[in-house]
Point group: C2
Chain length 507, copies 2
């Protein structure tokens, strides 16, 4: 029998119900050829093609008499439906229904060690959590710029990002006319939290002139975006004016777009960081809608030569103080991190963040462990990302092969996400999350038993794995041949393993 | 002016001469648009298209009255031309002409902490060293199997491997008719050391029947291959019979092809490992031609579930004892390592190897930090590889995207090598090798100064980086535009950096 041209694994959507029928946690159930099944988490949402998703959380939100943040609710010992949803999601992600309780989720949120991005006006989100004790999350950036990419392309990238497992998505669009409409379309179609960098739209509204950016303009942008439903804001409030001389001494001064705008405003206006000056008011807006603050690292190093300097660590210290203020005000927050850092300094970054930012969740961009591989920076950064996540980083911002060169194409989005799902999963395994090795072991058993199609079904990209394998298999060979093109039948070690197990009476 | 369709960086071959005119160490000199230059190591040899390379080392070898190994010579306080060549190669690799002296090379070889694979019958090799104190090396596997790939393809892969920086190449051909002729062609065309796994040809000569493998047959293969000029042999002499029950208890018993053949022979013949039994005789052959022994890990874990078990570590302990015997006999050796190992156990593997194998160089295959990404195992393995190399592993065997699925195509060879050059370089930087950050910093300066073409010239794959960038640049924009498609001109942080440096008087 000839092998098929395409491969369609038996993967079906199922839902696990919580204590209330409105809590329906989605999973994909993979059924293998030997009838074994495995649940894997999915972020694709109830309908990948819908322009507007159902507002899953609307009944939960409307029941709350006064709008409080998840952090405030957690502190009042209230277990929200979001927390219960997350406990189920995290527990079954790796097949252990006892691993995470809703009470444990509440405790981590109450301490500020974990964040549930959940704008009350983005009721379409399926709740997820960002915190060291939970599985490592991956963010995908999308967004148009004035030079390339359009509206439909970005919605296409959102869907592609969801298909490949982005736990949150940031819309980094800049310089386009319909930026509000694009964000609205993304929010309504997204079952995962959406983050933005509001200073981008602020600069656009100021006609591109940093001298014209005022607090009032920035406040209006934040308010508008919060009202639309953005779940977290990157705000570079820790980029204090006094840190700029340190950045000037670097090879690559400032590489953060938002940080660069903030620095421009300070230099043009001869003033302190306006987000820092008005931080209380920003927190008020965030508290009202339960927008989480992603305290941005405007001074993240853009070269390994610039890592761990006074600019970077001075900003981290300032951010740590802001994180405490967020906790006091009941606003959820997490901390953005580098960037470019050589491997020997990766752990130091996580450890210092824990210390200076009081164990608020860390959210890093890589870090890239070398600067010499443009075109392959999904790989240079995944090496750093896996390490820092193993050490405690809660969410990884993906880096695509296009980084430093161009806006990512859809194929780049896919490659970036698969690479970061590898990093996140490898870190989960290294952290020893309960049952996190279940899928690895299922795949290894399939390998040992020549269940080729099960290997593909269990892999991060089944169709791709199948294609690579099939390209070298003769058309007329068995449906599941007990060898492959790598060794041929004579040198196949897997065939020996059957005899080995028989010889020593191992089943 | 429109941007060009292709990109031709100014990269020229130069040679640095040693104390004798016969010592000519090759480098590529990259000249940047601002006239700065940078040397990078090259392994392409004097002629990429030659079927037979000049025998560079022939005069050095013929001058030695009795054929001793580099280890024996080092112990007698003799600095060979190979050692001096290596000192220059390692020093200028990262631009520091004082980093490594020939005497330091000699000392590391004398201690058995470094190996110079240099069969006296492979005089075409440009000497290189494998040792913890030196830059991390990368091996590329090529080789035909009975199911796919032919003669010309393999020579093509050798050239591709050299182009992308393979420091050594292993010919893993099995089950083809002209295996000796293919190896001969590879040896004569290769300026880098060639490794093999002689048990493969032995099985072929035994008609594929492990029961027919005898010591005499194995000895003949080893002798023939040593005489041809193979620089190192993977011999699975530490895979002792008493370890087999431990392997049988694994999910994926034995995944090493050579280990699997050795186990077959032991089981069929009810005998101890013949390479272990005849180790003294194997060392004699190796000593005669200065073949280095790559003591193979036939029990390397093929699943993260199987890592660090009694099979793996029991074999490592046995190998460590063999390494001591090699040192006593004056035979150079290094130690093969895993395989599949979750990130939390990677350091443990290197540390135990140092202890049990007396700091003989470690040569690992990855390790892969998760099993769930067939089709992307160049990435899963590069994560483990960078970590273990940072901890001390001297050479990394590349893994291509085809691993576990098919024989690598030429494109796979390229992808695997670039990925592993990233891992090796990132580890060099993390290890703090003198001047190892030079290329990173040059690229970062080019980034800061909008010298796009210099960024490409300095990158691991210039043409690829250029292509990605150019695909999104308008045809009518400037030759070196001071922005790119990622942020567009308005949001470009790099443009701000000029003002930032001016503001704070930084040049």
């Amino acid at each position: 029998m000839a092998t098929a041209k395409t491969f369609n694994p038996d993967i079906k959507r199922i839902y696990i119900e919580g204590s209330d029928p409105s809590i329906q946690v989605p999973f994909n159930k993979i059924t293998l050829t030997n009838k074994e099944t495995l649940l894997v988490s999915t972020v694709e949402g109830p309908d990948v093609n819908a322009k507007e998703l159902p507002k899953l959380r609307a009944p939960w939100i409307s029941k709350r008499v006064d709008h409080k943040t998840q952090l405030e609710l957690a502190r009042e010992n209230i277990i929200t439906p979001e927390m219960e949803f997350i406990a189920i999601r995290e527990s079954f992600k790796y097949g252990d229904d006892m691993a995470f309780s809703a009470e444990m989720v509440r405790q981590e949120v109450a301490k500020g060690h974990a964040v549930i991005p959940s704008n009350i006006n983005h009721a379409e989100t399926e709740p997820m959590i960002i915190g060291k004790k939970f599985s490592v999350k991956v963010n995908a950036n999308i967004g148009a710029s004035s030079v390339s990419s359009g509206f439909d392309e970005e919605i296409g990238k959102l869907r592609l990002a969801l298909k490949h497992g982005a736990d949150t998505v940031m819309d980094l669009s800049t310089g386009i006319d319909n930026i509000g409409a694009l964000r609205e379309a993304i929010l309504r179609a997204s079952p995962v939290p959406i983050g933005t960098v509001p200073i981008y739209e602020t600069l656009d509204r100021a006609g591109g002139d940093p001298a014209k950016i005022t607090w009032e303009l920035f406040r209006d942008v934040i308010t508008d975006q919060a009202r639309q439903g953005v779940d977290y804001f990157t705000i570079h409030a820790g980029l204090l004016r006094e840190l700029l001389p340190h950045a000037a001494r670097r090879i690559l001064g400032i590489v953060s777009r938002g940080g660069s705008v903030m620095a421009s405003v300070m230099m043009r206006q001869n003033a302190q960081n306006l987000a820092y000056e008005h931080f209380d008011e920003i927190m008020e807006i965030c508290a009202k809608y339960d927008v989480a603050l992603s305290l941005g690292d405007g001074l993240r190093p853009g070269a390994i030569a610039d890592a761990c300097d006074k600019a970077q660590y001075g900003e981290l210290e300032a951010i740590g103080k802001l994180a405490l203020r967020c906790r006091e005000r009941g606003v959820q927050c997490f901390i953005e991190g580098p960037g470019h850092v050589s491997l020997d300094k990766v752990y130091e970054n996580q450890d210092l963040e824990d210390e200076l930012c009081h164990e608020a969740p860390f959210y890093t961009l890589g870090p890239l462990v070398t600067d010499i591989a443009p075109g392959f920076d999904h790989i240079t950064s995944a090496i750093g990302a896996t390490n820092i996540a193993h050490r405690g980083t809660a969410m990884l911002c993906y880096v695509t092969p296009a980084e430093h060169l161009a806006l990512p194409t859809p194929e780049d989005v896919k490659q970036g996400l698969i690479t970061y799902k590898i990093a996140a999963h490898a870190a989960d395994v290294a952290k020893g999350l309960p049952m996190s090795r279940l899928r690895d072991d299922a795949l290894s058993r399939a390998r040992n038993e020549f269940r080729w199609y099960d290997q593909f079904a269990l892999s991060l990209d089944p169709q791709h794995a199948y294609s690579v394998w099939r390209a070298q298999m003769p058309d007329d060979c068995a449906h599941e041949p007990s060898f492959c093109s790598m060794c041929g039948p004579r040198f196949c070690p897997i065939r020996l393993n059957r005899r080995l197990k028989a010889e020593f009476n191992v089943k």
